[in-house]
Amino acid sequence: MEPLNPEKGSKTRPAFDVVFPTVSRPPPSKTDRLGPPEDAVPPSPGQQFVSGILDTPAGPVPIVVPQKEAADFRGTFRARWGVGRMRYAVDPGLYALRKPTEDSPVLVTANYKMSFDRLRFSLQGRSAWILVLDTKGINVWCAAGKGTFSTEELVRRVDFCAVDKVVTHRRLILPQLAGPGVAAYRVKKLCGFEVVYGPIRAEDLPEFLDAGMKVVPRMRHKTFPIAERVVLIPVELVEAFKWAVFILPALFLLGGLGGPGSFPENALIHGSFAVAAASLGILAGAVLTPTLLPWLPGRAFSMKGAVAGCLTSIPLFAYYALQGLSGARSLEILSWLVLIPAIASFLGMNFTGASTYTSLSGVKKEMRIAVPIQIVSAALGLAGWLISRFLA
């Protein structure tokens, strides 16, 4: 166990006593033990968002463009649709926003381009140093949870980028969501820099800085408003489509089997119906569940998804019920009334990973109950549907 840091709690006091070690005082930096970062190269000045080079005591530092350009919009759009999302990264290292001085704040972020963009666009005319950690192109929160946005990476990067040469204060502002990966008291011990946890949202940074680095409770609370949920829908759809691209054609072809008509006739009527019904399940799980999340009943996401699936199957059910059905047709409809909620439940359950408030223990508990039900429903529904084709 780490011994207690006696300076904890005196957050506002700058740690100037560890700036320039003298002979009488042992050097505070233990970063040598950690060694240089994995990719010990300075950030490339050739990156799209670099507008110039600032000469500093720590060497040349790329200056970043502080406002959004067409390429950033394009990049965000592509990443939202899952195109090259895992390679949407910037070079780790130190960057300058506008004209930072030795007093300017040092803001730390992940090297996922969208995280970096949020930060550099948020400061509204202020100058700052931006220290980008190597999080393998993953956003702050996920990287902190996975341990790439870590105490060790931060300390190594501070040392490698010689942050102590460009600023006189000894303070690093971290996004609050870096908390799962970074132990503030250990950073202080290892490199002499005090970690100040800033707001969750980069948009709150101006207010935070103007208030003398004070966070109000509102900035500490991670919400999940509808706008944040809706932007996640494209990736949910793309992920669902990776399965659907095999399953939907298979359903179409299976629909051609059995029945009195020819194979193409059957496929066109019953196969198309199956494809449409399965698509309703995808719509319910990947679009309706994220959108209607707080209003769908139940706490478990699998439950919310199943309810969304029932909602989308109502029009389908009503339409065919009004037509008066034969036995085979009834079984066909009934089977899909089981299948649609099962598909929606599974996809809704997968949205736990994108949500901002689900715990691992909770997800495991819900899965222990939901997954068997989903599997049995899917098996019964599929069997019922195939039987209906041969009864016809």
């Binding site: 709690g9 969208m114 799962p180 736990t352 997800v363």
Partner: protein
């Protein structure tokens, strides 16, 4: 709008009050206002709001707070159950199924 709360009575968050020195670091990093500083000691205010992100335990200098930290992601649970590399979807190259790149 309703507040979003996940399952009840599941979190592994545990507080040993005798170890707490009241530094408040845990409160600074908790994204769901689970904890409260009361008379120089931290108290668990709304346990069911805990998402086991592990930030409080990571930043607790005396290990007064412990939690089995993890990512509440069904796809990650499936991936690890299937024995795929990494405990989480986003660590798999070309996967990124969780949409967690906020």
């Amino acid at each position: 709008m309703e507040s979003l709360v996940y399952l009840k009575d599941v979190t592994t968050l545990h507080l040993t009050p005798e170890k707490c020195v009241g530094c408040g670091s845990c409160i600074e990093v908790c994204p769901h206002e689970v904890l409260l500083l009361n008379n120089g000691k931290v108290r668990i205010l709304q346990k069911d709001a805990c998402m086991e992100c592990g930030a409080c335990a990571r930043n607790c200098p005396t290990a007064a707070l412990t939690v089995q930290a993890g990512v509440g992601c069904a796809m990650a649970v499936i991936n690890s159950a299937l024995g795929r590399s990494g405990s989480s979807c986003c660590t798999l190259p070309g996967q990124g199924g969780c949409g967690c790149s906020l």
